[in-house]
C-alpha cells in the first residue's frame, strides 16, 4: 500500500473550517434559545393546559422522538415549498433543529417542573403573587436549576446532530468538509481533521455551558 497521509492542504483550509465551525455554533445557539423557550411553553401546557392541547403536545413529542432527524429535515425543507412556503436552507435547518430539540427538552423541562415541591407554589400564592408570577419567578428558576445538566447534554447532542444539515447545503462544518475533500482529494484527512474540530467544539461547549450555568444559576450546578 503506497498511501501516505498528507496534511499539506490544512494551512490553506483553516479559514474555511473556522467559518464552518462558526455557522455550526450559530445554528446551535439559535436552536438552544428557541427550543428552550418552546419547551418551557410546551412543558407548562402539557401540565396545566386544556386536554386537547395536552394530547397534542404529547403526540408531538412522541412523533419527533420516534422518527429520525434527517427525515424531519427533509420533510421540512422539501415538503414546505409544496405548500408555497419557501425556506432558506439556514432557516429550514434552524426550524428543524428547534422542533427536534424541543421534543426532548419538553420532557426535560417537565421533569424539572415536577421536581419543584408543591409547597413553593402554595407559599408564593399565599404571598399574593399572581399565577403567572409564581411560574416565572418561583417555579421556573428552580426547575431550570435542577435540569441544567440534562439540558447541557441535550445541547451538545444537538450540536453533533447538526452535522446532518449539510445535506440541505447549509454551509456549516460538515458541508465545508465535503467541499474541502472534493477539492483536495484527501477525504480521510479532511474528515479526520473536521472530526477533531467537532470533538473540540463539543468538549468546549460542555465546559462553557457548565461554567456559564454556575455563574447564572448559582453553585450546585454540575
Amino acid at each position: 500500500m503506497g498511501y501516505s497521509l498528507d496534511f499539506g492542504w490544512l494551512a490553506g483550509a483553516a479559514g474555511v473550517i473556522a467559518s464552518g465551525a462558526a455557522m455550526t455554533l450559530l445554528l446551535i445557539a439559535v436552536t438552544t434559545l428557541a427550543a428552550t423557550f418552546l419547551s418551557i411553553l410546551g412543558a407548562a401546557g402539557k401540565r396545566s393546559g386544556p386536554k386537547p392541547l395536552r394530547l397534542a403536545i404529547g403526540a408531538y413529542v412522541e412523533v419527533m422522538r420516534n422518527t429520525p432527524f434527517l427525515v424531519q429535515l427533509f420533510f421540512i425543507f422539501f415538503g414546505l415549498p409544496t405548500l408555497g412556503i419557501r425556506l432558506d436552507p439556514i432557516l429550514a435547518a434552524m426550524l428543524a433543529m428547534t422542533l427536534n430539540m424541543a421534543a426532548y427538552t419538553i420532557e426535560i423541562v417537565g421533569a424539572g417542573l415536577d421536581a419543584v415541591p408543591r409547597g413553593q407554589t402554595e407559599a408564593a400564592l399565599a404571598l399574593g403573587l399572581r399565577p403567572r408570577q409564581v411560574f416565572v419567578k418561583i417555579v421556573l428558576p428552580q426547575a431550570l436549576k435542577v435540569i441544567y445538566p440534562a439540558l447541557t447534554s441535550q445541547i451538545v447532542i444537538m450540536m453533533l446532530e447538526s452535522a446532518v444539515v449539510s445535506q440541505i447545503a447549509v454551509r456549516e462544518l460538515t458541508y465545508e468538509a465535503d467541499m474541502l475533500q472534493a477539492r483536495t482529494f484527501r477525504a480521510f484527512e479532511t474528515y479526520f481533521v473536521v472530526t477533531m474540530v467537532y470533538l473540540g467544539l463539543s468538549m468546549g461547549l460542555r465546559r462553557l455551558l457548565i461554567a456559564g450555568g454556575r455563574g447564572a444559576l448559582g453553585a450546585g450546578v454540575s
Binding site: M1, Y3, E62, V63, R65, N66, T67, P68, F69, L70, V71, Q72, F74, F75, F78, G79, T82, V156, L160, E161, S162, A163, V164, S166, Q167, T174, A177, Q181, A187, F188, Y191, F192, V194, T195, Y198, L199, S202, M203
Partner: protein
C-alpha cells in the same frame, strides 16, 4: 416521467425498510459484542486500561455519527480493505453503538453495591467468574430500559447511512421523491415507517422503567 401510485411508493419503501431493520440488528448485535469488550476495559482495575476505554467512549460520544461514518467509508480502503456502503455502515454503527452500550452498562455495574463483589470473592470466585455469574447479570437487568432506549436511537441513526450511499429507507425515499415530486407523501410515509418501528420499543422501554421504579 414514470407514474407511481401510492401503493408503488409504499411497497418500495417497505422493501427498503428491510435493510433498515437488518442494519439496525447487525449494528445492535455487533455493538453489544464490541461494547462488552469496552465494558471490560472500562471497569478494569488498571488505571491506563480504564483510561483507554474512557477515551474511546468520549471520542464516539463527542463527535457526530456522520463523521464516524465518513471516516469508516474513506479510511478503511486505505488499510487495503475493499469497502462498500454496507460494510462501512455496519462497522460505523457497530463502533458507535459499542461506545454507548458500554457506557450504559458501566452505569449498571457502578450502581451495584460493593458487597456484591466482596460476596463473590468470599465464595472463592475469581474476577471473570464474579463478572459472569454475579455482576453482569444484575448490571444488564437494571439497565434494560436504557438499552432498549438506545436501540431506538440506533434505528433512527441508520438514516444517516443513506448519506454514505447505503440503500436503506431514506436513500430509497430520496430516489422516489426525485421521481414523484411528492415530498410530503414520501417523507411522511418514511417517518410513519420509522415511527411504527420505534414507538413500540419506546413504550416497552417506558414500561421497563416504570417497573424498575416501582421496585
Amino acid at each position: 416521467m414514470i407514474e407511481f401510485t401510492f401503493w408503488d411508493i409504499l411497497r418500495n419503501l417497505l422493501l427498503a425498510a428491510r435493510w433498515t431493520v437488518l442494519l439496525s440488528l447487525a449494528a445492535f448485535i455487533g455493538g453489544a459484542l464490541v461494547g462488552l469488550v469496552v465494558l471490560f476495559f472500562r471497569i478494569a482495575k488498571t488505571k491506563w486500561v480504564k483510561r483507554i476505554a474512557s477515551g474511546y467512549i468520549a471520542l464516539f460520544q463527542g463527535t457526530p455519527l456522520l463523521m464516524q461514518l465518513f471516516l469508516m467509508f474513506f479510511g478503511l480502503p486505505m488499510l487495503g480493505l475493499r469497502i462498500e456502503p454496507w460494510t462501512a455502515a455496519a462497522l460505523g454503527l457497530t463502533f458507535f453503538a459499542s461506545a454507548y452500550l458500554a457506557e450504559i452498562w458501566r452505569g449498571g455495574v457502578d450502581a451495584l453495591p460493593r458487597g456484591q463483589w466482596d460476596a463473590g470473592a468470599s465464595l472463592g470466585l475469581h474476577y471473570l467468574q464474579e463478572l459472569r455469574l454475579i455482576i453482569l447479570p444484575q448490571a444488564f437487568a437494571i439497565t434494560r430500559a436504557p438499552t432498549v432506549g438506545f436501540l431506538v436511537q440506533l434505528i433512527k441513526s441508520t438514516a444517516l447511512t443513506s448519506i454514505i450511499g447505503f440503500e436503506e429507507l431514506v436513500r430509497t425515499s430520496n430516489a422516489i421523491n426525485n421521481a414523484t415530486f411528492e415530498p410530503f407523501k414520501v417523507y411522511g410515509l418514511v417517518a410513519l415507517i420509522f415511527f411504527v418501528m420505534c414507538f413500540p420499543l419506546t413504550q416497552y422501554a417506558r414500561r421497563l422503567e416504570q417497573r424498575a421504579g416501582a421496585r
